[in-house]
Protein backbone atom coordinates (compact mmCIF):
# COMPACT_ATOMS: atom_id res chain seq x y z
CA UNK A 1 0.00 0.00 0.00
CA UNK A 2 1.31 3.41 -0.86
CA UNK A 3 1.60 5.52 2.23
CA UNK A 4 0.80 9.17 1.63
CA UNK A 5 3.00 10.40 4.46
CA UNK A 6 6.00 8.45 3.24
CA UNK A 7 5.62 10.21 -0.09
CA UNK A 8 5.18 13.59 1.57
CA UNK A 9 8.26 13.14 3.73
CA UNK A 10 10.27 11.44 1.03
CA UNK A 11 12.09 9.22 3.51
CA UNK A 12 15.17 7.39 2.27
CA UNK A 13 14.80 3.60 1.88
CA UNK A 14 17.60 3.25 4.43
CA UNK A 15 15.59 5.25 6.98
CA UNK A 16 12.52 3.08 6.41
CA UNK A 17 14.60 -0.06 6.82
CA UNK A 18 16.14 1.32 10.00
CA UNK A 19 12.69 2.19 11.36
CA UNK A 20 11.28 -1.27 10.70
CA UNK A 21 14.32 -2.84 12.37
CA UNK A 22 14.24 -0.65 15.47
CA UNK A 23 10.56 -1.35 16.17
CA UNK A 24 11.46 -5.02 16.64
CA UNK A 25 13.77 -4.08 19.52
CA UNK A 26 10.91 -3.51 21.93
CA UNK A 27 8.08 -5.70 23.20
CA UNK A 28 5.87 -2.59 23.19
CA UNK A 29 5.85 -0.56 19.98
CA UNK A 30 5.43 2.77 21.74
CA UNK A 31 8.99 2.45 23.09
CA UNK A 32 10.30 3.14 19.60
CA UNK A 33 8.97 6.71 19.51
CA UNK A 34 12.28 8.42 20.33
CA UNK A 35 14.27 6.24 17.96
CA UNK A 36 11.82 6.91 15.11
CA UNK A 37 11.93 10.63 15.78
CA UNK A 38 15.73 10.51 15.65
CA UNK A 39 15.69 8.54 12.40
CA UNK A 40 13.28 10.93 10.71
CA UNK A 41 14.95 14.08 12.01
CA UNK A 42 18.33 12.83 10.79
CA UNK A 43 16.84 12.11 7.38
CA UNK A 44 14.51 15.07 6.86
CA UNK A 45 16.05 17.63 9.20
CA UNK A 46 13.08 18.25 11.47
CA UNK A 47 9.83 16.74 12.72
CA UNK A 48 6.85 17.86 10.68
CA UNK A 49 3.19 17.42 11.53
CA UNK A 50 3.13 14.73 8.85
CA UNK A 51 5.97 12.92 10.57
CA UNK A 52 4.14 12.98 13.89
CA UNK A 53 1.04 11.50 12.30
CA UNK A 54 3.04 8.94 10.37
CA UNK A 55 4.89 7.77 13.50
CA UNK A 56 1.61 7.58 15.42
CA UNK A 57 0.12 5.40 12.71
CA UNK A 58 3.24 3.26 12.50
CA UNK A 59 3.28 2.63 16.26
CA UNK A 60 -0.50 2.42 16.69
CA UNK A 61 -0.66 5.54 18.85
CA UNK A 62 -2.54 8.81 18.81
CA UNK A 63 -0.64 11.77 17.31
CA UNK A 64 -0.70 13.48 20.73
CA UNK A 65 1.41 10.63 22.14
CA UNK A 66 4.13 11.51 19.66
CA UNK A 67 3.63 15.27 19.81
CA UNK A 68 4.07 15.34 23.60
CA UNK A 69 7.42 13.60 23.18
CA UNK A 70 8.57 16.01 20.47
CA UNK A 71 7.78 19.01 22.67
CA UNK A 72 9.42 17.52 25.79
CA UNK A 73 12.87 16.61 24.50
CA UNK A 74 15.13 19.54 23.59
CA UNK A 75 16.81 17.76 20.68
CA UNK A 76 13.66 17.43 18.58
CA UNK A 77 12.69 20.43 16.49
CA UNK A 78 9.59 21.21 14.48
CA UNK A 79 11.20 23.61 12.04
CA UNK A 80 14.10 23.23 9.62
CA UNK A 81 17.47 24.59 10.74
CA UNK A 82 20.55 25.79 8.89
CA UNK A 83 22.69 23.42 6.87
CA UNK A 84 25.11 23.00 9.77
CA UNK A 85 24.06 22.84 13.41
CA UNK A 86 26.45 24.49 15.86
CA UNK A 87 25.74 23.59 19.48
CA UNK A 88 27.75 25.53 22.04
CA UNK A 89 27.73 24.28 25.63
CA UNK A 90 26.35 26.87 28.06
CA UNK A 91 26.67 25.06 31.37
CA UNK A 92 28.99 25.95 34.26
CA UNK A 93 32.31 24.28 33.41
CA UNK A 94 32.22 25.60 29.85
CA UNK A 95 30.99 29.02 31.00
CA UNK A 96 33.91 29.22 33.47
CA UNK A 97 36.29 28.72 30.56
CA UNK A 98 34.60 31.24 28.27
CA UNK A 99 31.65 29.42 26.69
CA UNK A 100 29.59 32.60 26.44
CA UNK A 101 32.32 34.32 24.44
CA UNK A 102 32.55 31.26 22.20
CA UNK A 103 28.83 31.43 21.48
CA UNK A 104 28.98 35.16 20.76
CA UNK A 105 31.89 34.62 18.39
CA UNK A 106 29.90 32.16 16.30
CA UNK A 107 26.95 34.55 16.31
CA UNK A 108 29.12 37.37 15.00
CA UNK A 109 30.86 35.20 12.42
CA UNK A 110 27.56 34.09 10.91
CA UNK A 111 25.63 37.27 11.55
CA UNK A 112 22.91 35.49 13.44
CA UNK A 113 21.49 34.89 16.90
CA UNK A 114 21.25 31.67 18.87
CA UNK A 115 18.14 29.72 17.95
CA UNK A 116 17.82 31.28 14.50
CA UNK A 117 18.82 30.21 11.01
CA UNK A 118 21.62 32.43 9.69
CA UNK A 119 20.61 34.77 6.83
CA UNK A 120 22.51 32.65 4.29
CA UNK A 121 20.82 29.49 5.59
CA UNK A 122 24.19 27.95 6.38
CA UNK A 123 24.04 27.54 10.16
CA UNK A 124 21.84 27.44 13.20
CA UNK A 125 23.60 28.23 16.45
CA UNK A 126 22.19 26.83 19.64
CA UNK A 127 23.35 27.44 23.21
CA UNK A 128 22.76 24.03 24.79
CA UNK A 129 23.13 22.50 28.23
CA UNK A 130 26.02 20.27 29.31
CA UNK A 131 27.58 18.16 26.55
CA UNK A 132 29.55 16.02 29.04
CA UNK A 133 33.05 16.99 28.03
CA UNK A 134 33.69 19.49 30.83
CA UNK A 135 37.40 18.73 31.08
CA UNK A 136 38.04 20.13 27.61
CA UNK A 137 35.85 23.22 28.01
CA UNK A 138 34.53 25.14 26.24
CA UNK A 139 33.09 22.52 23.92
CA UNK A 140 31.04 22.78 20.76
CA UNK A 141 29.29 20.19 18.64
CA UNK A 142 29.05 20.84 14.94
CA UNK A 143 26.46 18.38 13.70
CA UNK A 144 27.62 15.07 15.20
CA UNK A 145 31.23 16.07 15.84
CA UNK A 146 32.61 17.31 19.14
CA UNK A 147 35.17 20.12 19.14
CA UNK A 148 37.16 20.70 22.30
CA UNK A 149 38.73 23.76 23.90
CA UNK A 150 36.92 26.08 21.53
CA UNK A 151 38.08 29.51 22.65
CA UNK A 152 37.42 32.63 20.58
CA UNK A 153 40.36 31.95 18.25
CA UNK A 154 39.29 28.36 17.61
CA UNK A 155 35.67 29.44 17.12
CA UNK A 156 36.89 31.81 14.39
CA UNK A 157 38.93 29.03 12.80
CA UNK A 158 35.99 26.62 12.82
CA UNK A 159 33.75 29.34 11.36
CA UNK A 160 36.25 29.98 8.60
CA UNK A 161 36.34 26.34 7.61
CA UNK A 162 32.55 26.14 7.62
CA UNK A 163 32.39 29.22 5.40
CA UNK A 164 35.03 27.81 3.08
CA UNK A 165 33.14 24.54 2.79
CA UNK A 166 29.99 26.51 1.98
CA UNK A 167 31.79 28.58 -0.68
CA UNK A 168 33.15 25.46 -2.36
CA UNK A 169 29.70 23.99 -2.54
CA UNK A 170 28.22 27.00 -4.30
Amino acid sequence: MVNLFEILMNLKPETLRQIDEVITHYPVKRSAVLMLLHAIQEDVGYISQEAIEWIAQKLELQPINVYEVVTFYPMFRQKPIGRRHIKVCRTLSCALMGGYKTCETFEKEFNTHRGEVSPDGEVTIEFVECLASCGTAPVVMIDDDLHEKVDVAKAKQLSASLKQEAAQRR
Partner: protein, 450 residues
Protein backbone atom coordinates in the same frame (compact mmCIF):
# COMPACT_ATOMS: atom_id res chain seq x y z
CA UNK B 1 53.68 14.98 50.21
CA UNK B 2 53.18 13.48 46.81
CA UNK B 3 49.70 12.49 45.71
CA UNK B 4 49.05 8.75 45.49
CA UNK B 5 49.38 6.99 42.16
CA UNK B 6 46.35 6.50 39.98
CA UNK B 7 44.94 2.98 40.01
CA UNK B 8 43.53 2.47 36.55
CA UNK B 9 41.06 -0.38 36.54
CA UNK B 10 38.26 0.98 34.37
CA UNK B 11 40.43 3.44 32.48
CA UNK B 12 43.30 0.97 32.03
CA UNK B 13 43.31 1.33 28.26
CA UNK B 14 41.83 4.79 27.87
CA UNK B 15 44.13 6.98 25.77
CA UNK B 16 46.55 4.08 25.37
CA UNK B 17 48.32 4.47 22.02
CA UNK B 18 47.25 1.77 19.58
CA UNK B 19 44.24 0.69 21.65
CA UNK B 20 41.14 0.65 19.46
CA UNK B 21 37.49 0.13 20.29
CA UNK B 22 36.97 -3.01 18.21
CA UNK B 23 36.45 -6.55 19.43
CA UNK B 24 39.77 -7.90 18.16
CA UNK B 25 41.75 -5.35 20.15
CA UNK B 26 39.65 -5.94 23.25
CA UNK B 27 40.18 -9.68 23.02
CA UNK B 28 43.93 -9.24 22.50
CA UNK B 29 43.88 -7.58 25.89
CA UNK B 30 42.04 -10.44 27.56
CA UNK B 31 38.57 -9.23 26.72
CA UNK B 32 35.52 -11.42 27.42
CA UNK B 33 37.57 -13.96 29.38
CA UNK B 34 35.72 -12.83 32.50
CA UNK B 35 32.36 -13.38 30.81
CA UNK B 36 33.53 -16.90 29.95
CA UNK B 37 34.40 -17.38 33.61
CA UNK B 38 31.06 -15.90 34.71
CA UNK B 39 28.88 -18.27 32.67
CA UNK B 40 30.54 -21.16 34.49
CA UNK B 41 29.44 -19.66 37.80
CA UNK B 42 25.91 -20.02 39.19
CA UNK B 43 24.22 -16.59 38.95
CA UNK B 44 23.59 -16.24 42.71
CA UNK B 45 27.33 -16.70 43.28
CA UNK B 46 28.03 -13.63 41.13
CA UNK B 47 25.47 -11.58 43.04
CA UNK B 48 27.21 -12.69 46.24
CA UNK B 49 30.59 -11.54 44.90
CA UNK B 50 29.12 -8.14 44.01
CA UNK B 51 27.60 -7.88 47.49
CA UNK B 52 30.93 -8.81 49.08
CA UNK B 53 32.74 -6.26 46.93
CA UNK B 54 30.81 -3.41 48.52
CA UNK B 55 30.47 -1.76 45.10
CA UNK B 56 28.44 1.42 45.29
CA UNK B 57 26.66 2.95 42.31
CA UNK B 58 28.77 5.43 40.40
CA UNK B 59 25.90 7.41 38.92
CA UNK B 60 25.23 9.75 41.81
CA UNK B 61 23.47 8.24 44.78
CA UNK B 62 26.17 5.74 45.75
CA UNK B 63 23.62 3.01 46.48
CA UNK B 64 25.20 -0.43 47.00
CA UNK B 65 24.95 -2.36 43.73
CA UNK B 66 24.59 -5.78 45.38
CA UNK B 67 21.72 -4.52 47.51
CA UNK B 68 20.04 -3.09 44.41
CA UNK B 69 20.31 -6.45 42.71
CA UNK B 70 19.08 -8.17 45.89
CA UNK B 71 15.86 -6.14 45.81
CA UNK B 72 14.86 -7.43 42.38
CA UNK B 73 11.56 -9.29 42.44
CA UNK B 74 12.49 -12.72 41.10
CA UNK B 75 9.23 -14.45 41.92
CA UNK B 76 6.81 -12.43 39.81
CA UNK B 77 7.26 -14.63 36.77
CA UNK B 78 7.74 -11.48 34.70
CA UNK B 79 10.91 -10.91 32.67
CA UNK B 80 13.69 -8.95 34.38
CA UNK B 81 15.19 -6.07 32.43
CA UNK B 82 18.57 -4.41 32.80
CA UNK B 83 19.07 -0.85 31.67
CA UNK B 84 22.47 0.74 31.36
CA UNK B 85 22.22 4.36 32.37
CA UNK B 86 24.51 6.00 29.82
CA UNK B 87 22.62 9.27 29.98
CA UNK B 88 25.68 11.01 31.42
CA UNK B 89 24.37 14.52 31.89
CA UNK B 90 25.20 15.79 35.38
CA UNK B 91 27.18 18.96 34.70
CA UNK B 92 30.85 18.37 35.50
CA UNK B 93 30.70 14.65 34.67
CA UNK B 94 32.46 13.25 31.63
CA UNK B 95 33.69 9.76 32.51
CA UNK B 96 31.27 7.44 30.72
CA UNK B 97 31.97 9.28 27.46
CA UNK B 98 35.48 7.80 27.35
CA UNK B 99 34.39 4.27 28.25
CA UNK B 100 31.73 4.32 25.53
CA UNK B 101 33.94 5.82 22.84
CA UNK B 102 37.23 4.11 23.59
CA UNK B 103 36.44 0.86 25.40
CA UNK B 104 32.81 -0.09 24.66
CA UNK B 105 33.45 -3.82 24.95
CA UNK B 106 34.51 -3.45 28.57
CA UNK B 107 31.05 -2.10 29.30
CA UNK B 108 29.31 -4.73 27.19
CA UNK B 109 31.19 -7.48 29.01
CA UNK B 110 30.12 -5.98 32.34
CA UNK B 111 26.54 -5.79 31.08
CA UNK B 112 26.48 -9.39 29.92
CA UNK B 113 27.94 -10.63 33.22
CA UNK B 114 25.33 -8.63 35.11
CA UNK B 115 22.56 -9.99 32.86
CA UNK B 116 23.75 -13.55 33.42
CA UNK B 117 23.86 -12.95 37.18
CA UNK B 118 20.32 -11.60 37.24
CA UNK B 119 18.74 -13.85 34.61
CA UNK B 120 18.08 -10.88 32.36
CA UNK B 121 17.14 -11.75 28.78
CA UNK B 122 16.90 -8.23 27.46
CA UNK B 123 19.12 -5.25 28.22
CA UNK B 124 18.90 -1.72 26.91
CA UNK B 125 21.62 0.87 26.83
CA UNK B 126 20.02 4.27 27.31
CA UNK B 127 22.58 6.65 25.84
CA UNK B 128 22.18 10.39 25.84
CA UNK B 129 21.18 11.91 22.53
CA UNK B 130 24.26 14.11 22.42
CA UNK B 131 26.51 11.06 21.92
CA UNK B 132 25.58 10.15 18.32
CA UNK B 133 29.01 8.67 17.63
CA UNK B 134 28.87 6.85 20.95
CA UNK B 135 25.57 5.24 19.97
CA UNK B 136 27.04 4.08 16.64
CA UNK B 137 30.17 2.74 18.36
CA UNK B 138 28.03 0.77 20.80
CA UNK B 139 25.84 -0.60 18.03
CA UNK B 140 28.91 -1.74 16.11
CA UNK B 141 30.44 -3.26 19.25
CA UNK B 142 27.24 -5.14 20.07
CA UNK B 143 27.08 -6.45 16.50
CA UNK B 144 30.70 -7.66 16.76
CA UNK B 145 29.98 -9.32 20.09
CA UNK B 146 26.81 -10.90 18.70
CA UNK B 147 28.73 -12.33 15.75
CA UNK B 148 31.22 -13.82 18.19
CA UNK B 149 28.45 -15.39 20.30
CA UNK B 150 29.20 -13.05 23.20
CA UNK B 151 25.78 -11.41 23.03
CA UNK B 152 22.52 -12.89 21.76
CA UNK B 153 21.13 -16.42 21.53
CA UNK B 154 22.84 -19.34 23.25
CA UNK B 155 25.58 -17.23 24.71
CA UNK B 156 28.94 -19.00 24.55
CA UNK B 157 27.27 -22.31 23.82
CA UNK B 158 24.99 -22.22 26.88
CA UNK B 159 21.21 -22.36 26.69
CA UNK B 160 21.10 -18.79 27.98
CA UNK B 161 20.21 -15.98 25.59
CA UNK B 162 20.39 -12.27 26.11
CA UNK B 163 20.04 -9.37 23.70
CA UNK B 164 21.27 -5.79 24.06
CA UNK B 165 19.81 -2.84 22.19
CA UNK B 166 20.87 0.79 22.12
CA UNK B 167 18.21 3.38 22.87
CA UNK B 168 18.95 7.05 22.33
CA UNK B 169 17.72 9.86 24.57
CA UNK B 170 17.11 13.34 23.21
CA UNK B 171 18.65 15.94 25.45
CA UNK B 172 16.65 15.75 28.67
CA UNK B 173 18.69 15.69 31.91
CA UNK B 174 15.80 14.16 33.83
CA UNK B 175 16.30 10.90 31.92
CA UNK B 176 19.25 10.26 34.22
CA UNK B 177 16.73 9.73 37.01
CA UNK B 178 16.02 6.02 36.78
CA UNK B 179 12.23 6.09 36.72
CA UNK B 180 12.26 9.04 34.30
CA UNK B 181 14.63 7.00 32.16
CA UNK B 182 12.21 4.08 32.23
CA UNK B 183 9.32 6.30 31.12
CA UNK B 184 11.51 7.62 28.33
CA UNK B 185 12.40 4.11 27.26
CA UNK B 186 8.69 3.37 27.13
CA UNK B 187 8.37 6.18 24.59
CA UNK B 188 6.90 8.83 26.84
CA UNK B 189 7.86 12.11 28.44
CA UNK B 190 10.47 11.39 31.09
CA UNK B 191 8.26 12.12 34.08
CA UNK B 192 9.75 10.31 37.08
CA UNK B 193 7.46 7.85 38.82
CA UNK B 194 6.47 8.03 42.44
CA UNK B 195 8.08 5.58 44.86
CA UNK B 196 6.36 3.65 46.31
CA UNK B 197 5.00 1.80 44.46
CA UNK B 198 7.18 2.20 41.37
CA UNK B 199 10.50 0.87 42.63
CA UNK B 200 12.22 -0.30 39.45
CA UNK B 201 13.31 -3.53 41.16
CA UNK B 202 9.63 -4.49 41.32
CA UNK B 203 7.67 -2.30 38.90
CA UNK B 204 10.10 -0.93 36.35
CA UNK B 205 10.17 -1.12 32.57
CA UNK B 206 6.76 -2.32 31.29
CA UNK B 207 5.87 -2.82 34.98
CA UNK B 208 8.45 -5.60 35.18
CA UNK B 209 11.38 -5.91 37.61
CA UNK B 210 14.20 -3.74 36.28
CA UNK B 211 17.79 -3.02 37.20
CA UNK B 212 19.18 0.38 36.24
CA UNK B 213 22.95 0.72 36.63
CA UNK B 214 25.45 3.36 35.59
CA UNK B 215 28.03 2.60 32.87
CA UNK B 216 30.96 2.79 35.28
CA UNK B 217 29.19 0.60 37.86
CA UNK B 218 28.67 -2.18 35.30
CA UNK B 219 32.32 -1.99 34.25
CA UNK B 220 33.30 -2.56 37.87
CA UNK B 221 31.21 -5.75 37.92
CA UNK B 222 33.57 -7.25 35.38
CA UNK B 223 36.57 -6.55 37.59
CA UNK B 224 34.77 -7.87 40.68
CA UNK B 225 34.10 -11.20 38.97
CA UNK B 226 37.71 -11.20 37.79
CA UNK B 227 39.35 -10.69 41.16
CA UNK B 228 36.58 -11.85 43.52
CA UNK B 229 34.47 -9.67 45.77
CA UNK B 230 36.76 -9.94 48.80
CA UNK B 231 39.85 -8.99 46.83
CA UNK B 232 38.02 -6.06 45.21
CA UNK B 233 36.85 -4.85 48.61
CA UNK B 234 40.52 -4.41 49.59
CA UNK B 235 40.77 -1.62 47.04
CA UNK B 236 39.77 1.76 48.37
CA UNK B 237 38.61 2.23 51.94
CA UNK B 238 36.01 0.41 54.08
CA UNK B 239 32.44 0.99 52.85
CA UNK B 240 33.96 3.00 49.97
CA UNK B 241 35.52 0.23 47.95
CA UNK B 242 37.06 0.04 44.52
CA UNK B 243 38.31 2.76 42.27
CA UNK B 244 36.48 5.84 41.20
CA UNK B 245 36.65 7.95 38.08
CA UNK B 246 37.06 11.60 39.00
CA UNK B 247 36.39 14.28 36.42
CA UNK B 248 37.93 17.66 37.12
CA UNK B 249 36.85 20.76 35.24
CA UNK B 250 36.92 24.52 35.65
CA UNK B 251 39.76 26.59 37.02
CA UNK B 252 42.71 24.21 37.39
CA UNK B 253 45.87 23.92 35.33
CA UNK B 254 45.23 20.34 34.24
CA UNK B 255 41.55 19.48 34.05
CA UNK B 256 40.74 15.93 33.03
CA UNK B 257 39.74 12.47 34.18
CA UNK B 258 41.60 10.44 36.74
CA UNK B 259 41.03 7.11 38.43
CA UNK B 260 41.88 6.60 42.09
CA UNK B 261 41.10 4.17 44.84
CA UNK B 262 38.04 5.56 46.58
CA UNK B 263 39.04 7.67 49.56
CA UNK B 264 42.78 7.30 48.96
CA UNK B 265 43.20 10.77 47.56
CA UNK B 266 42.16 14.02 49.15
CA UNK B 267 40.52 16.89 47.36
CA UNK B 268 43.63 19.00 47.98
CA UNK B 269 45.98 16.39 46.48
CA UNK B 270 43.68 16.02 43.51
CA UNK B 271 43.44 19.72 42.77
CA UNK B 272 46.90 20.94 43.79
CA UNK B 273 49.13 18.07 42.77
CA UNK B 274 47.32 16.00 40.18
CA UNK B 275 45.61 18.92 38.47
CA UNK B 276 48.50 21.33 38.90
CA UNK B 277 46.80 23.83 41.20
CA UNK B 278 45.03 27.07 40.34
CA UNK B 279 45.57 29.03 37.14
CA UNK B 280 48.50 31.49 37.25
CA UNK B 281 47.91 34.35 39.67
CA UNK B 282 44.70 32.87 40.99
CA UNK B 283 43.61 31.12 44.17
CA UNK B 284 40.92 28.53 44.65
CA UNK B 285 37.66 29.89 45.95
CA UNK B 286 35.10 27.10 45.80
CA UNK B 287 34.63 23.58 44.54
CA UNK B 288 31.61 21.42 43.75
CA UNK B 289 32.82 17.86 44.41
CA UNK B 290 30.22 15.60 42.79
CA UNK B 291 28.39 17.14 39.87
CA UNK B 292 26.62 20.50 39.81
CA UNK B 293 23.84 19.49 42.17
CA UNK B 294 26.26 18.61 44.99
CA UNK B 295 26.53 21.26 47.67
CA UNK B 296 29.44 23.63 47.15
CA UNK B 297 32.54 23.65 49.37
CA UNK B 298 34.26 26.90 50.24
CA UNK B 299 38.02 26.95 50.53
CA UNK B 300 38.85 28.00 54.08
CA UNK B 301 35.91 26.30 55.76
CA UNK B 302 36.50 23.36 58.08
CA UNK B 303 34.48 20.31 58.96
CA UNK B 304 34.35 18.64 62.35
CA UNK B 305 33.61 14.99 61.72
CA UNK B 306 33.03 12.13 64.10
CA UNK B 307 35.44 9.22 64.24
CA UNK B 308 34.27 5.68 64.86
CA UNK B 309 35.55 5.79 68.45
CA UNK B 310 33.44 8.84 69.24
CA UNK B 311 36.28 11.36 69.07
CA UNK B 312 36.21 14.09 66.46
CA UNK B 313 38.57 15.31 63.78
CA UNK B 314 38.64 18.62 61.97
CA UNK B 315 39.33 18.66 58.25
CA UNK B 316 39.83 21.48 55.78
CA UNK B 317 38.39 21.29 52.26
CA UNK B 318 41.83 20.23 51.01
CA UNK B 319 41.98 17.40 53.55
CA UNK B 320 38.67 15.79 52.60
CA UNK B 321 39.19 12.32 51.14
CA UNK B 322 37.25 11.76 47.92
CA UNK B 323 34.93 9.05 49.19
CA UNK B 324 31.17 8.75 49.56
CA UNK B 325 30.91 8.83 53.35
CA UNK B 326 33.30 11.67 54.25
CA UNK B 327 31.88 13.97 51.60
CA UNK B 328 28.39 13.17 52.88
CA UNK B 329 29.51 13.91 56.44
CA UNK B 330 30.88 17.23 55.19
CA UNK B 331 27.39 18.08 53.97
CA UNK B 332 27.91 17.46 50.27
CA UNK B 333 28.26 14.33 48.14
CA UNK B 334 30.60 12.34 45.93
CA UNK B 335 27.72 12.14 43.48
CA UNK B 336 28.83 11.41 39.96
CA UNK B 337 32.51 12.23 40.50
CA UNK B 338 32.33 15.54 38.64
CA UNK B 339 34.57 18.08 40.40
CA UNK B 340 34.00 21.67 39.28
CA UNK B 341 36.55 24.19 40.50
CA UNK B 342 36.08 27.95 40.75
CA UNK B 343 38.84 30.45 41.49
CA UNK B 344 38.77 33.98 42.89
CA UNK B 345 37.78 35.46 39.52
CA UNK B 346 34.29 34.02 39.95
CA UNK B 347 31.43 35.91 41.51
CA UNK B 348 29.25 33.37 43.23
CA UNK B 349 26.00 35.13 42.29
CA UNK B 350 26.91 34.71 38.64
CA UNK B 351 27.98 31.09 39.11
CA UNK B 352 24.67 30.31 40.80
CA UNK B 353 22.79 32.10 38.04
CA UNK B 354 24.47 29.78 35.56
CA UNK B 355 23.54 26.68 37.56
CA UNK B 356 19.97 27.88 38.13
CA UNK B 357 19.48 28.40 34.41
CA UNK B 358 20.45 24.77 33.89
CA UNK B 359 17.98 23.41 36.44
CA UNK B 360 15.12 25.64 35.28
CA UNK B 361 15.70 24.35 31.74
CA UNK B 362 15.82 20.74 32.86
CA UNK B 363 12.94 20.50 35.34
CA UNK B 364 10.46 18.07 33.80
CA UNK B 365 7.57 20.22 35.02
CA UNK B 366 5.64 17.46 36.69
CA UNK B 367 5.74 18.73 40.31
CA UNK B 368 4.72 22.30 41.00
CA UNK B 369 7.39 23.15 43.63
CA UNK B 370 10.18 22.15 41.27
CA UNK B 371 8.72 23.52 38.03
CA UNK B 372 7.90 26.90 39.56
CA UNK B 373 10.71 27.00 42.09
CA UNK B 374 13.53 26.22 39.69
CA UNK B 375 12.16 28.84 37.30
CA UNK B 376 11.93 31.50 40.00
CA UNK B 377 15.42 30.78 41.27
CA UNK B 378 16.63 31.26 37.72
CA UNK B 379 14.62 34.45 37.29
CA UNK B 380 15.88 35.92 40.55
CA UNK B 381 19.56 35.21 39.91
CA UNK B 382 19.27 36.36 36.29
CA UNK B 383 17.61 39.57 37.43
CA UNK B 384 20.39 40.10 39.97
CA UNK B 385 23.02 39.82 37.25
CA UNK B 386 21.30 41.58 34.36
CA UNK B 387 18.96 44.00 36.10
CA UNK B 388 18.42 45.20 39.66
CA UNK B 389 19.97 43.29 42.54
CA UNK B 390 18.70 43.67 46.06
CA UNK B 391 20.62 43.03 49.26
CA UNK B 392 18.00 40.58 50.50
CA UNK B 393 17.75 38.52 47.32
CA UNK B 394 19.79 35.79 48.99
CA UNK B 395 17.11 35.40 51.63
CA UNK B 396 14.44 35.27 48.95
CA UNK B 397 16.37 32.65 46.97
CA UNK B 398 16.82 30.50 50.03
CA UNK B 399 13.11 30.68 50.86
CA UNK B 400 12.27 29.40 47.39
CA UNK B 401 14.87 26.61 47.56
CA UNK B 402 13.70 25.52 51.00
CA UNK B 403 10.20 24.99 49.65
CA UNK B 404 11.29 22.64 46.87
CA UNK B 405 13.51 20.04 48.50
CA UNK B 406 11.50 17.17 49.94
CA UNK B 407 8.30 18.15 48.17
CA UNK B 408 8.80 16.50 44.80
CA UNK B 409 8.39 13.06 43.27
CA UNK B 410 12.06 12.66 42.42
CA UNK B 411 15.44 13.86 43.66
CA UNK B 412 15.56 16.67 41.10
CA UNK B 413 13.86 18.81 43.75
CA UNK B 414 16.92 18.38 45.96
CA UNK B 415 19.32 18.61 43.03
CA UNK B 416 18.01 22.02 42.03
CA UNK B 417 17.75 23.46 45.53
CA UNK B 418 21.05 22.26 47.00
CA UNK B 419 23.15 24.65 44.91
CA UNK B 420 21.08 27.65 45.98
CA UNK B 421 20.93 26.56 49.63
CA UNK B 422 24.67 25.92 49.85
CA UNK B 423 25.72 29.02 47.89
CA UNK B 424 23.61 31.23 50.19
CA UNK B 425 24.78 29.44 53.33
CA UNK B 426 28.46 29.79 52.45
CA UNK B 427 28.62 32.90 50.30
CA UNK B 428 25.66 34.82 51.73
CA UNK B 429 27.80 37.95 52.13
CA UNK B 430 28.56 37.97 48.44
CA UNK B 431 24.85 37.92 47.66
CA UNK B 432 24.23 40.73 50.16
CA UNK B 433 26.96 42.92 48.73
CA UNK B 434 26.18 42.11 45.09
CA UNK B 435 24.22 45.34 44.46
CA UNK B 436 27.37 47.26 45.46
CA UNK B 437 29.76 44.90 43.68
CA UNK B 438 27.83 45.42 40.44
CA UNK B 439 28.42 49.17 40.54
CA UNK B 440 32.14 48.65 40.25
CA UNK B 441 32.98 47.94 36.63
CA UNK B 442 34.86 44.72 36.09
CA UNK B 443 38.49 45.65 35.50
CA UNK B 444 39.55 42.51 33.66
CA UNK B 445 36.37 42.05 31.63
CA UNK B 446 35.77 39.00 33.78
CA UNK B 447 33.86 35.95 32.77
CA UNK B 448 30.28 36.10 31.83
CA UNK B 449 28.49 33.16 33.32
CA UNK B 450 24.90 33.90 32.57
Amino acid sequence: MAAPQQRRLIFKHIDEPGYTNDLACYQRHGGYEILKKAVRMPPPAIIDEVKKSGLRGRGGAGFPCGVKWGLVDRKSGKPIYLIVNADESEPGTFKDRYIIHQDPHQMIEGVMISCWANNVKQAYIYIRGEFPHGARILEKAIAEARAANLVGPNLLGTDYSCEIYVHRGAGAYICGEETGLIESLEGKRAYPRIKPPYFPAVLGLYQCPTIVNNVETLCHVKHIVDMGGDEYAKIGTPNNTGTRLLCVSGHVQKPGYYEYEVGKITLGELLNEVCGGPLPGRTFKAVIPGGSSAKILKFGETFTLKNKDGSTRTLTVEELPMDFDTLAAAGTMGGSGGVIVMDDSVNMVEALANINAFYAHESCGQCTPCREGSLWMKKITARMVHDTARADDGVLLKSVADQIAGRTICAFGEACSWPTQSFIAKFGDEFKSYPETKKVAKADGALELV
